[in-house]
């Protein structure tokens, strides 16, 4: 199950990353190494072993449905690269 350069480019595209060609090549090798390492796990017999999705305590209680205070409006917008008085402003996303 070797990762190809196309796989790397596809994953980069989904993550909105632009990669120069030489990085595609080195990432391809890294990813293959990681996957190769994970394949080692296939040697284990995992029949009858429940998949472990979470390592946290499943007994965590639900939260009561109560609304507390929001953060101040100014603070909400403070870290945004661009905003007006009301809204976050982002490059137009539809043509």
């Amino acid at each position: 199950m070797a990762v190809t350069s196309d796989d790397v480019k596809y994953i980069a595209d989904l993550a909105r990353l632009q990669l120069p060609d030489d990085e595609v090549e080195s990432l391809k090798q890294d990813l293959n190494k990681i996957l190769g390492y994970m394949e080692k796990l296939d040697e284990l017999d995992t029949t009858d072993v429940e998949p472990l999705e979470h390592v946290t305590d499943p007994e965590v209680p639900f939260r009561k449905d109560e609304a507390g205070d929001p953060i101040p409006h100014e603070d909400a917008l403070k870290n945004a690269p661009d905003a007006d008085a009301d809204y976050f402003r982002v490059p137009r996303v539809i043509e």
Binding site: R63, D65, R89, V93
Partner: protein, 486 residues
Amino acid sequence: MSTIQHDKFEAVIGLEVHAQLLTQSKAFAPVSTEFGGAPNTQVTPLCLGHPGTLPVLNENLVRYTVRMGLATGCKIAEKSIFARKNYFYPDLPKGYQISQYETPICYDGEIEIELDNGRKRIGITRIHMEEDAGKSIHDRDPVNTLVDLNRAGVPLIEIVSEPDLRTPGEAYAYLKKIRQIVQYLEICDGNMEEGSLRCDANVSVRPRGESAFGTRTELKNMNSFRNVERAIQFEIDRQIELIESGGEVVQETLLWDPDKLQTRQMRSKEEAHDYRYFPEPDIPPVVLEEDFVDEVRQNLPEMPESRRERFEKQLGLNSDDARTLTENRYLADYYEEILEYLDNPKAAANLVMTEVLRVLNEQSIDIQDFPVRPKPLADLIRLKQDEKINSSAMQKIFNRMLEQEEEPEKLAGEMNLLQISEEGFVEPIIREVLDAHPDEVMRYREGKKQLIGFFIGQVMQKSKGQANPKQVRELLTKKLDQIEKS
């Protein structure tokens, strides 16, 4: 398109309905979900996708979803997990939506819809929990998109039907039923125009008798019940026409354009592709104790069918009236509130079904926005019941009550519509009428008894509607009989 041979084909339709839940706080953050606040004022760092924040599950998201599951005969999963659905869009600041994927909390249910030719069961594949995205505004700034994250993280359920629907009419009935159920359960207000209830449709067609499915398309952006029906009809016609002319249906997502009344292809950018779902590591599995599910089950409210039955059996309404009144939960509530002040179910049903529904239709408003409260309406009916006003006066006063918040009896007085039942008021009028029509009196005495209606009409007119017709009839009959005998 009317030339299409529809009977050669049948459509297969499945609906995905999103319902915004009426919780106080968001799905994973303790902040208000209220609609209509100033932009970006109902947010926490979690809603903004800031690093280091952790979601904590709102118990009412679980409770309301289980409520819906039980009301639609679903199985409730003892353990279900949340999943991340990954995609980039500015109204989703985390870069993923928290949803459920392989293990929905409710599955394998069904509901019954009512059609002109009987009832039909529609399977519910699954109901799962997820969070809403924020709102993007594209038309207020020429070069930018504006983002409001108040809605980001508001809890939703997605209800997925089996492909059991065959016509746009069935899809419409199904959606109405879903709305009725969520309203009865008080988990969603069911308002499609405001987006608290949203619907996508999967549509395909196949030659009648064929059991394999045709290629389906997905329809989005149908923001009213009428548009759901129209869009599906349009898409069925388009697919049949395409196949008939030798073409092939392509699997794609289409947007309904409510102005042009047609569908259009989504732009490539709008089409999301690879969501790479994986288990949400920040939220532990949702493990439901039996007690929790039992508590929800025991607190299920009376559903439309049983309410309708109760209206028939206990209140003595006929089945059509009972159905109309229970169709909308809030209308049924309104009706029952009238009965708290008035022990006359039939009179109350009549007024609600004729006058109140007429006004709701004319003004296109919901019963929640109807200006007259149940108590004054009960008072109005009582005026009529006590023969203080007649039917036409009741209607006039009702119309006035829509504009003026005032006790009906006072309005009746101001409008000179109170019936005057003293004999001293009506006696002279009766005498006057009989004196003015000796010929009619003669014919009445000769046996033409139906002239009584004519006399009553004359008296009512002369009294400007204030005489009590029942009393007028009694007095007139007595007077005419006396003349007869003399």
